[in-house]
Structures are given as structure tokens and as C-alpha cells.
């Protein structure tokens, strides 16, 4: 504190000081650097810290990030294309990747198949031949592909040995490599949930916002509509809607059609949340102030009301992604969703229709594993976000 302007009659009397400088409270009560970091942190920063404390959510987040990154470079990651058929390997079982051959380290390799047809059942039978050691190649030239339809490339993360085949997860009836199709399937299955949620998010915010802000008969009407939609069983309705899509539509339009169908029944939960929040928030002073200053309703809702609970909305939107992914999987599994030649996890699971499959070709159920993992990861991630959404609690 400066004492420049202090009045000092003499040194013995008690000094009487009146500082004209603005008083800085921090000069009296010093905050330690940690405290300062904590007290002055922005809301988003605190949410981030709180989110980091939720171990499982962080791990899930990283996992999802990696998966979504992988759909950018499917062509590079997958050893084969989606349409590539290995005519010699129908229903070939998965090949195990080995590291040691007779105690000798060789790096990752697989044993080649010996093919034989069973003379009685006429079923193809494959057996690993220890004499055929086929080493994997990495960052290699393999099958030609068009990267996102933009330019051609041949570089793959890994490919089979020269003049050999590689089916780490086995093949289906037509000899498609399952692992490659699984990698490509992520592109469809993961984005359909994301697009669907974006759509239902917009619908939910707009409709719920209107209902909550205006109240009265608008609110009543929207509430009734939501009630009607919620009282219908989702899957049968999805099925009915999916049955409407004309059979002659191209694959990409069907994809968007399914996305819209998934979103059409999903927005109600979000709209309800938005409405109930808005109903209480619109009575707050800052909202009245904005109204008095002549702000339009769309500005008040979008600029003043929504941001105050945006984090909650994002968290609950994250939690509804898995429902969409499962919805797509179920629809495609029933043959009402996406159709070949689109490759999604649900379409792949469509091959595992009956119990014979489990007994004879259990590897065809492999696409269920990424579905389960992604749904779990989204659930954990969403839980973490929800806990972090209110960092002041």
C-alpha cells in the first residue's frame, strides 16, 4: 500500500492515513498460486478438470476419439476393400496371428490354410498348415483403393504376405474379409449416431425452446405431441417408418432417411429437458432485462437462456448416441435399415440371423463386439460429461 498522500503531522502520533488509490483486496489477502488458479478458472476449465477426475470417462473418450479418427483413414487401415472377394475362402475361420514358429521369433505371421471339402457333408473345411508361414507386411503396397473417392493409393497399414491371403477375423459366405468390412462399417455406424443426435438436438432445442419460452397453449400443444410420440413403442414405429423408404432409393439417400427416422422419435426427451429449464429461467431478472431492452425471443433463447444449461444438454445428447447406434443395428439386422452394398455393423450382423451361424460360423458375430464397446464407451463418456456439467456442485 502506498502512503504518498498520507498526512503525517509528526512521527510520534498515530499515523492517520487516507489513501486515494483504489483499494486492491488481494494486497491484504494473498491467494496462493493454486488457489488463484482454482478461483479464477473459467466455467469450461472447471468442467474440464472435473471431467478428468472421472477415469473411466476419460479412457472412453480417448477410445471414441481414436475410433472416430480411424474412420477418416479406413482405406489405409483395412487390408482389403469392402467388395473384394476371396473366391477360395468362403466361410474361412479367423487366422490367429503368431509371433513364434517352433520357438523361433519371426515377428507377426499367420499359418496358411489348407482347404478340403468334407466328403460327406460337402462343407468346406480349413486347417492351418504349419509349413506355410506367411509373414505380415507393414506399411506395404497392397490392394488398390480410392481414398474417399479423391485419389488412388496402395499404401496399407498391413497386408498379407506376397501371394497369400490374410483373414484375421475370417470371411463370410462370399469370401469378404470380415476385419476389413468391420473397419469400413465403423464409418457408417459411428456417423449415423452422430448425425442423428445432431438432428434430434436441433429439433429438441427449437421445439422445447418454443414450448418453454412461450408457455400457454403452444406449450400445451407441444406437450401433447411429445406425449403421443413417447407412448408409441420405438422399434415398431421405426420399422414402420423404415418400411416407407422406397426400395429403389440409392444407398446414400437411404442412409440419410434412416438418420432422420432415428432422430424423429428421439428429440422428445431433450425437448422436455429444455422446456422445463426454460420455464424456470425465463422468470429470472437477466431475462426480463433482455426483454425490456427489446431483444427478440430467438436472441433471448439462443444468447441468454440456452448457454446457461448447454453443458447439460450436451451430456444428455451424448447419452442418446448409443440408443441410436443400437437402433441402426437392430433395424439393419431385421433387414429394414441400411441395405447392401452399404457396409455397417448392423448390415454385417444381418449375416448372423439364426442359430446355425453360432454353431457353424461363430466369427460372423464379431461385429457385435465393436457395437458393445462403442455403446459402453458412450455411456461412460456421457456419465462423465454429466458429472462435469455442473462443476460448482
Amino acid at each position: 500500500m502506498t502512503l504518498d498522500n498520507a498526512i503525517r503531522p509528526d512521527d510520534t502520533s498515530i499515523p492517520h492515513t487516507v489513501s486515494r488509490e483504489p483499494f486492491d483486496p488481494y494486497s491484504v489477502e494473498q491467494l496462493s498460486p493454486e488457489q488463484e488458479r482454482y478461483f479464477l478458472a473459467s466455467q469450461w476449465k472447471m468442467m474440464w478438470w472435473r471431467f478428468l477426475r472421472h477415469r473411466l470417462a476419460v479412457i472412453s473418450g480417448v477410445f471414441l476419439l481414436l475410433l472416430y479418427a480411424s474412420i477418416l483413414v479406413c482405406e489405409f487401415l483395412a487390408p482389403y476393400g469392402t467388395g473384394t472377394r476371396d473366391h477360395k475362402a468362403s466361410f474361412a475361420p479367423p487366422q490367429t496371428v503368431h509371433l513364434f514358429d517352433n520357438g523361433e521369433f519371426l515377428g507377426p505371421f499367420v499359418y496358411g490354410y489348407d482347404f478340403k471339402r468334407n466328403e460327406i457333408t460337402l462343407m468346406p473345411e480349413y486347417s492351418a498348415n504349419p509349413a506355410k508361414v506367411e509373414k505380415l507386411r507393414f506399411f506395404c503396397e497392397g490392394e488398390k483403393y480410392e481414398f474417399w473417392g479423391l485419389f488412388e493409393g496402395r499404401l496399407h497399414l498391413f497386408c498379407p504376405a506376397e501371394n497369400a491371403t490374410l483373414h484375421i477375423l475370417g470371411t463370410d459366405k462370399l469370401g469378404h474379409d470380415l476385419l476389413s468390412r468391420l473397419i469400413y462399417g465403423a464409418r457408417i455406424s459411428l456417423t449415423i449416431g452422430l448425425f442423428g443426435v445432431t438432428l434430434s438436438f436441433l429439433l429438441g432445442i427449437v421445439i422445447g425452446g418454443v414450448a418453454g419460452y412461450y408457455g400457454g397453449w403452444v406449450d400445451n400443444l407441444i406437450q401433447r405431441v411429445i406425449e403421443v410420440l413417447r407412448s408409441l413403442p420405438h422399434l415398431p414405429l421405426w420399422m414402420a417408418l423404415a418400411a416407407i423408404l422406397p426400395k429403389n432409393w440409392s444407398a446414400i439417400i437411404v442412409y440419410f432417411g434412416i438418420t432422420i427416422i432415428l432422430a424423429m422419435l428421439d428429440w422428445t426427451g431433450l425437448a422436455r429437458a429444455v422446456r422445463s429449464k426454460l420455464l424456470s429461467l425465463r422468470e429470472e431478472e437477466f431475462c426480463v432485462a433482455a426483454q425490456l431492452m427489446g431483444a427478440r425471443p430467438s436472441r433471448i433463447i439462443g444468447r441468454h437462456l440456452l448457454p446457461s444449461f448447454m453443458s447439460h444438454l450436451i451430456a444428455s445428447a451424448t447419452l442418446s448416441v448409443p440408443a441410436m447406434i443400437l437402433g441402426e443395428t437392430s433395424l439393419s439386422y431385421l433387414g429394414l435399415g441400411l441395405r447392401r452394398p452399404i457396409v455397417s455393423w448392423g448390415v454385417l450382423l444381418n449375416n448372423a440371423q439364426d442359430i446355425d451361424t453360432i454353431v457353424l460360423y461363430p466369427w460372423l458375430m464379431a461385429p457385435a463386439i465393436p457395437v458393445i464397446l462403442v455403446v459402453l464407451a458412450f455411456n461412460f463418456f456421457g456419465d462423465g460429461l454429466r458429472d462435469a456439467a455442473d462443476p460448482y456442485k
Binding site: 403421443v228 413403442p233 415398431p236 414402420a240 416407407i244 437392430s330 439386422y333 442359430i355
Partner: protein, 332 residues
């Protein structure tokens, strides 16, 4: 209470009307209808007597009439208990559906019971033993139950049940009992076959219920009155049963309404996999072949089931909880 019941019943009417309209729009939406199919078939075959058939269809089912009129006739028929006519089976819908509705309801009922019996003790245990090893295990399995697609679970369980328990695959009873009069053997066979569908359909519902019950009960356990009661020396078991548990029971009852649509959705896909003689596979076929009255009446039936379920759960809640009866909403 009486006024409340009346009010709820009156709300139901517009809701059901709106639902029926929505369903009719959906089943009418695919391009073309059965009438144009018949006309096209007749013309290609050049059969005689086509005029009669077309006229019969137009007179009886008002095909070709304006949309609103068709809707009106359909709803009017529904009100009189006439579900319409299935073009594919050439039979009235009520005859085609017949037993399937009852079997669907049996499966749904068994599943609700299963969900409650499983979710209740596990939810209470995991709330009272928060952060214990078993709590984590339950939470993990609950998450897993929500994440596994139900058709996959059905396939795997069917396989396991067949290999280890020797239950025959598919159907709702052993083949020799189909079409036979009721007997103990038939009942036993049905119960045996109900096991897996109930397990599969109920698992995701039970998982969700456990999580909600746990959260609710934890909220209650941290309230002041629990501390007070404990300080006054109430035995822990009695304390738990008498107050917090009662409060956290609401979701069980409130969930009947939302549980039913979930069950039906789950049942559709699972019965498709397991070829159960319930409504699921039939609905799928009807939707694919544009058998519109069959599909429409099914969807309507499911919706009515749900709306009535919601009504029942609301009434039960109101009977149990005066706060709701006196005007507030259901607390979740």
C-alpha cells in the same frame, strides 16, 4: 381421487385419436396400395370377375376413397371392435391375430415380473453397499446389459439353453403341444420356453431399473430424516424398509408406462430371432408386404396397451402418493 381418474380418462381420448391418425398416415405412406396391386394383377392376367373383386374391395374397405374418409372408416371400425381385413391372409385381422395377442401379453407380463423381481433386491443392495465390490460388479453388469444388442443376447442364450439345458429352440412350446388343449405338460413347456425371451427382453429394462432405483435410494439415504431416525435408534433394516424404500418405490410404478413400449420393442426383435408366435414377426411381415390393416391394427393395439399402461401407473402412483394426487407431477 375420483376427479383425478375422470380427468386422466378424458386426456386419454385425444391422445388415442392423435396416435391413430399418426399410425394411419404411416401405414398409408408407402407409394401404392393393395387396390392398385390387385388392378395391376388383374390386367396382367386378364381374368374375368376382376370388376367384382375391385368393386368388393372398394365397397368394403373404401380403397381409392380420399384419405380422410378411409381414416374415418378405419377408426369407426376400430371403435366397434372391427380391426379390419388382412389382404395377405384373406381373413379378418382379429382372426389372424387371435392367440398372438394373448401370447404377446403373457410374454410382456412375465417380463415385467422378472424385471421387478431382479431389479428390486439388486438395486437396494447396491445402494446400501455403495462403492463396495459387489456394487461395482452390479453397475458393470447393468451397463453391459444396456449395451448388448438384444438379438445377440437371444441368439447366444438360445444356443446355451439348447446345449446345456436341452430346451428345444424357438417357439413358445414344444411342437407336440401346439393346437392341443391346456394341460400341465403344456403349461410346463410354455414356462420353460418363456425363460429365455423373458431374460432377454427383461435384461435391459432391469439394468435401467437397477440404476434408477440405486440413484433414487442413494438420494433418500442422504436426507436428514434418515440421520434423525438412526440417531433415535431405529434398527437399520426397519429404518430402510419403512421410509427411504417407500420413497424410492415410485420409479417402479411410474415405469410401467415407459416399460411397456420398451418391452414391446424388445419383444419384436427377440421374437423375430426366436420365431416366437407373438406379434413381432407378424408385424414385420405385414409392414414389408404393405398389408396395411394388419400392420395398422397391430401398431394401434401396441399403442393402446402403452397408453393404458401409463394410465394404470399414474393411477397407482396417485393412490400411493398424495403429492401427485393433489396436483403435482410424478417425481422421478
Amino acid at each position: 381421487m375420483f376427479a383425478y381418474v375422470i380427468r386422466r380418462l378424458f386426456i386419454m381420448i385425444p391422445t388415442l385419436l392423435a396416435i391413430s391418425f399418426l399410425i394411419f398416415v404411416i401405414i398409408q405412406a408407402p407409394p401404392g396400395d393393395y387396390l392398385s396391386t390387385v388392378i395391376a394383377e388383374c390386367q396382367s392376367r386378364g381374368e374375368s370377375g376382376c370388376e367384382d373383386k375391385i368393386k368388393f374391395l372398394q365397397d368394403e374397405f373404401h380403397l381409392g376413397d380420399p384419405f380422410i374418409e378411409q381414416y374415418g372408416y378405419w377408426v369407426w371400425g376400430l371403435l366397434q371392435g372391427d380391426l379390419g381385413y388382412s389382404f395377405e391372409y384373406q381373413l379378418p385381422v382379429s382372426q389372424v391375430v387371435g392367440d398372438r395377442l394373448w401370447l404377446t401379453m403373457i410374454v410382456a407380463f412375465a417380463t415385467v415380473l422378472f424385471t421387478w423381481i431382479v431389479a428390486f433386491p439388486i438395486g437396494v443392495y447396491s445402494a446400501t453397499h455403495q462403492y463396495s465390490l459387489s456394487d461395482y460388479a452390479v453397475t458393470f453388469f447393468g451397463m453391459l446389459g444396456l449395451a448388448v444388442p438384444s438379438f445377440l443376447l437371444a441368439l447366444v442364450l438360445l444356443y446355451l439353453a439348447n446345449v446345456y439345458l436341452g430346451i428345444s429352440i424357438g417357439g413358445l412350446m414344444d411342437p407336440e403341444y401346439i393346437g392341443q388343449p391346456w394341460s400341465w405338460g403344456k403349461l410346463h413347456s410354455i414356462l420353460q420356453h418363456l425363460l429365455i425371451p423373458t431374460l432377454v427382453i427383461g435384461s435391459s429394462g432391469a439394468a435401467a431399473m437397477i440404476r434408477r432405483l440405486r440413484a433414487n435410494l442413494l438420494d433418500e439415504l442422504h436426507k436428514q430424516y434418515v440421520v434423525t431416525a438412526r440417531a433415535k435408534g431405529l434398527p437399520p433394516g426397519r429404518l430402510l424398509l419403512k421410509y427411504p424404500l417407500r420413497m424410492s418405490l415410485n420409479p417402479f410404478i411410474a415405469d410401467i408406462g415407459t416399460l411397456l413400449p420398451e418391452l414391446v420393442s424388445g419383444a419384436v426383435i427377440v421374437s423375430q430371432v426366436m420365431s416366437l408366435p407373438t406379434t413381432g414377426p407378424m408385424l414385420l411381415r405385414a409392414l414389408q408386404s404393405q398389408d396395411m390393416y394388419l400392420a395398422g391394427s397391430f401398431l394401434m393395439f401396441l399403442a393402446v396397451l402403452t397408453v393404458v399402461g401409463v394410465l394404470l401407473s399414474d393411477l397407482a402412483l396417485a393412490a400411493l402418493d398424495p403429492r401427485i394426487r393433489l396436483g403435482g407431477g410424478a417425481t422421478k
